[in-house]
């Protein structure tokens, strides 16, 4: 009995050690470039300094400004489009698909299993062959939405499967239109899933290079400008850009955390 218990503790500590090592592995580069972006010696910024020169140079660089604007437009439209479609698909699979639910679910998760580069080059081929189009913002948004759609679908499906559909029916029976039932009954109860999906799609399409790269041609986006700058060697400005994005992502995830926590504190359905 004693051996068993100490064995258990050993396994627990071992797993905990692997967890700590993995998180350190994942976060060390992020923290390293945060220090590097604020240091006059970016290669080995220890002890850390706090010099914001590279942030100011980044702020005044017009190339990054227009790239950031383009990325922002793509990310906003993509997150809206893929979340709306993902929501329809989620409701469809959970409520109306009947015995075909698994078939539809597998199809809707399909883009997850096709790599981004394939999605990019195949969309580019289609637009080029069919319309002689070189690619523009609209095609980039659509192709990004295909990729993000699967993520949105899975996130909302995971959070909506507990939803009690009788609430909508009750609202309709009491005289609400289906749209009013959605806004006044369903949305207040499921907003955490919808918001998570919006955030994830936004961040994914903001930072994705492969899809936008093949569909935009010469229009700069933030990842493509960063990628172009990489070829000429890493500069502190890139570290600064990267750190800003990491902080934004971190804030978004913190937002998700509070959303999920407040959701859990609500009385159980």
């Amino acid at each position: 009995m004693y051996a068993q218990a100490s064995n258990d503790r050993l396994t627990k500590w071992l797993m905990g050690a692997i967890l700590v090592a993995a998180y350190a592995f994942l976060y060390m580069p992020i923290i390293h470039i945060l220090f590097a972006s604020m240091s006059s010696r970016p290669n080995f910024p220890y002890p850390p300094e706090f010099d914001f020169g590279s942030y100011i140079r980044l702020y005044t660089n017009t190339v990054y400004q227009s790239a950031f604007l383009n990325s922002l437009i793509i990310a906003t439209c993509t997150s809206l489009l893929s979340t709306v479609l993902g929501f329809l698909a989620t409701v469809g699979v959970l409520r109306f698909a009947g015995r075909k639910a698994l078939v539809y679910a597998a199809f809707f998760a399909g883009p997850l299993f096709v790599s981004e580069i394939l999605l990019g080059i195949s969309s580019m081929s289609l637009y080029y062959l069919a319309f002689e189009l070189q690619g523009n913002m609209v095609t980039a948004i659509i192709a990004n939405s295909v990729h993000c759609f699967s993520f949105c679908f899975l996130i909302m499906a995971a959070l909506l499967y507990r939803y009690d559909w009788r609430m909508n029916e009750a609202a309709v029976v009491c005289g609400a239109s289906p749209i009013r039932a959605f806004f006044e009954v369903m949305l207040p109860l499921t907003w955490s899933g919808i918001l998570s999906s919006l955030i994830v799609a936004f961040v994914l399409s903001l930072n994705g290079l492969d899809i936008s790269f093949y569909l935009l041609g010469a229009t700069p986006t933030m990842p493509s400008v960063a990628w172009g700058a990489l070829r000429y060697g890493v500069k502190p400005e890139l570290y600064a850009l990267s750190s800003i994005i990491n902080i934004l992502v971190f804030a978004a995830i913190a937002g998700l955390y509070f959303v999920a926590r407040s959701d859990r504190n609500q009385p159980a359905e």
Binding site: K12, L14, M15, G16, I18, L19, F25, L26, Y27, M28, H32, I33, P42, N43, F44, L88, A89, G92, R95, F96, A97, A105, A106, F107, A109, G110, F113, V114, S115, I117, L118, I121, S122, S125, L126, I142, A143, V146, F149, F153, L154, A157, A158, Y161, R162, L204, N207, G208, L209, D210, Y214, L230, V234, Y239, I245, N246, F250, I253, Y257, R261
Partner: protein
């Protein structure tokens, strides 16, 4: 189904997203297949049907080498990631307590910050003037050569890129797993090894396979990591595709390479999906209905 209301609902909720996917996901893949049977000359597409691109792929040994190298790397990275993910996910589910949510969300930060930015960060770690070698030099030792511009660097980068995805998938699977089954098995006399091999592992195999595939598929077509970290003998298949569509302008050949990659991925998916029970993955949350 005769209910007209229900039919309209199905149209809106199921068929609209499905049509979207057919138009912008299935149709492009078909365009890729068509393009792969055409030719490119002097950066222009010549619409003549032939299987010349596939002949080039089959006879030119370089492409075969790229593919095999990608395949071995993808298998190695995926197996390593799954092996590391299990203890992490298990620890979070069993011992995470009220920190479960924080621990699982913390995995998403490195995942969501984008491939390019993460590669920049990795370059800061692994490059010739990066942190690892900087520390080694400070300590007076020689820099590690194998971690910069080599297949090892690509391996580390790909694990870094896709480990969060695998951990999350295994975590979701374990989260939906009913751990009372393990107590039941122990009280029936199974030892811990048996409990794991006969209860925990088989019942979470579906989720593990999905995690493996979500790492394997993108790794197989990785194009950015090897270009940036792989060095001279590190050309991978996905990187080669990107070059056909970029510098060398041989779109049709690139399309053929893409079709080969796609068919191979589909074959792998097909073989593995025999072992997948979607209800058990914890992925769609449909397990407990």
């Amino acid at each position: 189904m005769a209910d007209p209301d229900n039919r309209w609902n199905r149209r809106l909720f199921l068929h609209l997203p499905a049509i979207f996917l057919v138009l912008f996901f299935v149709l492009p893949l078909m365009a890729l297949v068509i393009l792969s049977f055409w030719q490119t000359e002097n950066y222009k597409i010549v619409r003549e049907w032939s299987a010349l691109n596939y002949v080039t792929l089959a006879t030119e040994s370089a492409y075969f080498v790229f593919f095999v190298r990608s395949l071995f790397l993808a298998i190695g990275v995926s197996i390593f990631s799954v092996a590391v993910s299990w203890p992490i996910a298990f620890f979070i589910v069993r011992h995470g307590g009220r920190y479960k949510l924080i621990l699982s969300l913390l995995l998403a930060v490195p995942f969501l910050s984008g491939e390019v930015l993460r590669l920049i960060a990795l370059q800061g770690m692994l490059g010739p003037t990066g942190l690892v070698n900087g520390v080694l030099l400070k300590l007076g030792s020689a820099p590690l050569r194998f971690i910069m511009y080599s297949n090892w660097a690509t391996f580390i980068a790909l694990v870094y890129l896709y480990l969060p995805m695998v951990v999350t998938t295994v975590y979701l699977s374990l989260l939906n797993f009913d751990f009372r089954l393990t107590s039941a098995a122990s009280s029936c006399g199974a030892n811990r090894f048996q409990v794991f091999c006969e209860i925990v592992w088989p019942l979470n195999l579906s989720g593990t396979i999905v995690g493996f595939l979500l790492c394997f598929i993108p790794t197989l077509s990785a194009s950015l990591a090897p270009r940036f970290l792989g060095g001279p003998s590190g050309t991978l298949y996905g990187m080669s595709i990107a070059q056909q569509f970029g510098e060398s302008g041989t779109w049709a050949l690139g399309a053929a390479m893409g079709v080969v990659l796609f068919l191979f991925s589909i074959a792998v998916l097909g073989v593995f999906s025999l072992g997948i029970n979607l209800r058990r993955t914890g992925f769609t949350g449909m397990g407990r209905q």
